[in-house]
């Protein structure tokens, strides 16, 4: 026999291996999805108002922005990065988008392009700080968070942007065949990014860089360009999310998105993304975002005060990651 092999492999059957692998992918999502289903059923039983078209519509619309920005965050987290600047960048994009409509008479769509451009620029800045200046993502985006918030106040003169035409609301409050337009966009974004991550070279490189940046580089991947690309794409989504948020409240709010980064990071990690990089899937993140939204929605329906909601969200974060870590230890803790 001239085959090269290591004995460890022979201790596991092929089938069990395959099962493991699938399970490994799915367990964290399963944890989150199970929690989601349980909560869903509990709320259906507990409140007659929960399972109504209106309420589901609302939950969808309410979660849209968080889900889109959490999708962006997930991409960055997969690369072993983190983006603390999403809140102030979303605010900047929304404010600028509202301003060009109000002051320059842009159409909603043109303004959306502008907002996305703002997000992309911020993403480019983050990307260059990380790849060229080699500042760790946490710090790079912490700086962008601060600078971005300063800028949004400067450009808006620290006043909300009001006096927008009614059409401005279309993105956030419109509906299409009875489905919130924001939900349609969210689905498109989520499916698109999930496809990008799982089916394309760009996605492959994203996981590879998060898994082992040096290996990716030595494999001939232009890591600076690609990593910057991930931040830019994330910025695009953050810009889009900021614009939808502005549209939803029919105004540019300079204070939008304070602490948003924590919500979206929570959604991503609840859905199984690992802050150590290389792992995370959009479906999990979307589930995570809905889990948080459902807690908030259910709390109102069941008359639970905001204070207890915060306690519950904290408990869910702990629980989700606890089970996820537990699974990873079992499946991957190898010498």
């Amino acid at each position: 026999m001239s085959t090269v092999e290591a004995t460890a492999g022979s201790q596991r059957g092929e089938l069990s291996d395959w099962v493991r692998e699938r399970v490994s992918h799915a367990v964290s999502e399963l944890t989150a999805a199970t929690a989601l289903v349980v909560l869903f059923i509990a709320l259906t039983v507990a409140s007659p108002y929960f399972l109504t078209a209106d309420n589901l519509f609302n939950i969808g619309a309410q979660t849209a922005v968080i889900a889109i920005i959490a999708t962006a965050q997930t991409m960055v987290i997969i690369t072993k990065g983190i983006d603390l600047s999403v809140g102030s960048v979303a605010a900047l994009a929304g404010v600028v988008g509202a301003m060009v409509v109000r002051d320059l008479g842009f159409s909603l769509w043109a303004a959306t392009v502008v907002a996305i451009g703002v997000g992309a620029l911020a993403g480019l800045l983050n990307g260059l700080l990380v790849t060229v200046a080699r500042i760790p993502p946490f710090i790079a985006t912490l700086g962008t968070m601060s600078v971005g918030r300063g800028l949004v106040f400067i450009v808006s003169g620290a006043v909300g942007v009001y006096g927008l035409p009614r059409s401005f609301q279309l993105l956030g409050n419109g509906e299409i065949l009875g489905i919130p337009f924001a939900v349609v966009i969210t689905v498109l974004v989520a499916v698109g990014v999930a496809f990008l991550l799982s089916q394309t070279r760009f996605g492959q490189y994203t996981y590879a860089m998060g898994s082992n940046l040096e290996a990716a580089r030595r494999s001939g991947i232009r890591v600076r360009r690609h990593l910057t690309g991930v931040y830019v794409l994330a910025g695009v989504l953050v810009g889009l999310g900021g614009m939808i948020a502005a549209s939803r409240v029919n105004s540019g709010q300079p204070n939008y998105g304070i602490s948003l980064e924590l919500d979206v990071i929570a959604a991503a990690v609840i859905g199984g993304a690992s802050l150590f990089g290389g792992q995370g899937r959009i479906v999990g993140t979307i589930i995570g975002a809905f889990l948080i939204a459902l807690v908030r929605n259910g709390a109102v329906l069941l008359d639970i005060s905001i204070h207890y909601q915060q306690v519950i969200v904290g408990l869910i974060i702990w629980a989700a990651v606890y089970f996820d870590q537990y699974r990873r230890r079992r499946l991957e803790a190898r010498g």
Partner: protein, 273 residues
């Protein structure tokens, strides 16, 4: 003992054969801060030969190899491929010149599957417009990976297994297989068997021989002198960042090699004799 290798017999650096060296380093200098890892290192490998690169810890072997594979562009000196000077500023440049490397610290993406790692950086895309959008042809890569591993005699549970789930030996095999699959002219192996068992080591050496037989050149870094003498055609010795000796493997003993590495006989003298 003490002779220069066949290929470089007639002059100090020019081979007798018509063919120029397939890969050559001349006077490479590489500094890290104020550490001078390479101080004018030379290195030559010809088509179809297995050259062992040996030297003490810290002699600069891994650094030399990284300059030859574009990871660390050299501060001074020249790299030549088939006699033509080239610039390897990124690993991609070296890959394009047909040089593949297995690094001492491996370099695999733990979260990706075996197949994805084998194709990393040269993914197969779907044909047609979808492919131009970067759509992966995963099926083709799975099949290609399985076939290639099979042909090399490397056995891995499944090509869809993430690397994280493999044993150290299995990872090493994937790394070696990957280099050999893609190399068109030179395979560089930096201590590929350091962590391997006796049997696994022999299997990697088998793969090396097969690569050579297929016309490839192989550069092998190793601290295991019996292994070096077993597999190499030629040995180049690095000491303190410079080439200290070039020897024919069939004319030397382990003691000669150790002497050359430690400098009990100066390599420069040897080269000049």
């Amino acid at each position: 003992m003490g002779t220069t290798p066949t290929a470089t017999a007639d002059s100090d650096r020019q081979p007798t054969t018509d063919e120029p060296p397939v890969l050559e380093a001349r006077g490479i200098v590489k500094r890290f801060g104020h550490v001078e890892a390479l101080r004018g290192a030379d290195f030559t490998v010809h088509r179809g030969e297995v050259v062992a690169l040996i030297g003490d810890n810290g002699a600069g072997k891994s650094t030399l190899i990284k300059t030859l594979s574009g990871v660390h562009p050299p501060d001074e000196g020249e790299i030549r491929v088939d006699g033509r000077p080239v610039q390897f500023s990124t690993p991609l440049d070296a890959r394009r010149a047909g040089v593949e490397t297995v690094y001492q610290d491996l370099a695999v993406a733990d979260d990706l599957s075996v197949a994805a790692n084998l194709y990393l950086g040269r993914e197969l895309l779907r044909s047609g417009p979808l492919g131009r959008l970067g759509l992966l042809d995963k099926r083709a890569m799975r099949q290609g990976a399985a076939a290639a591993l099979d042909e090399l005699g490397v056995r891995i549970p499944r090509v869809t297994t993430p690397i994280a789930m493999l044993s150290g030996g299995q990872r090493q095999c994937v790394a070696v297989a990957r280099a050999i699959i893609w190399a068109t002219s030179v395979v560089i192996l930096d201590e590929p068997t350091a962590a391997l068992g006796v049997v696994q080591t022999q299997r990697v050496l088998d793969v090396v021989r097969r690569a050579r037989d297929a016309g490839m050149s192989v550069v092998l870094v190793s601290h295991n002198m019996p292994q070096v003498l077993e597999i190499a055609d030629r040995v180049e010795v690095l000491r303190l960042g410079r080439r200290a000796a070039r020897l024919r493997a069939d004319e030397v003993t382990t003691d000669d090699l150790v002497a050359a590495m430690t400098g009990s006989i100066s390599g420069a003298e040897r080269d000049e004799r």
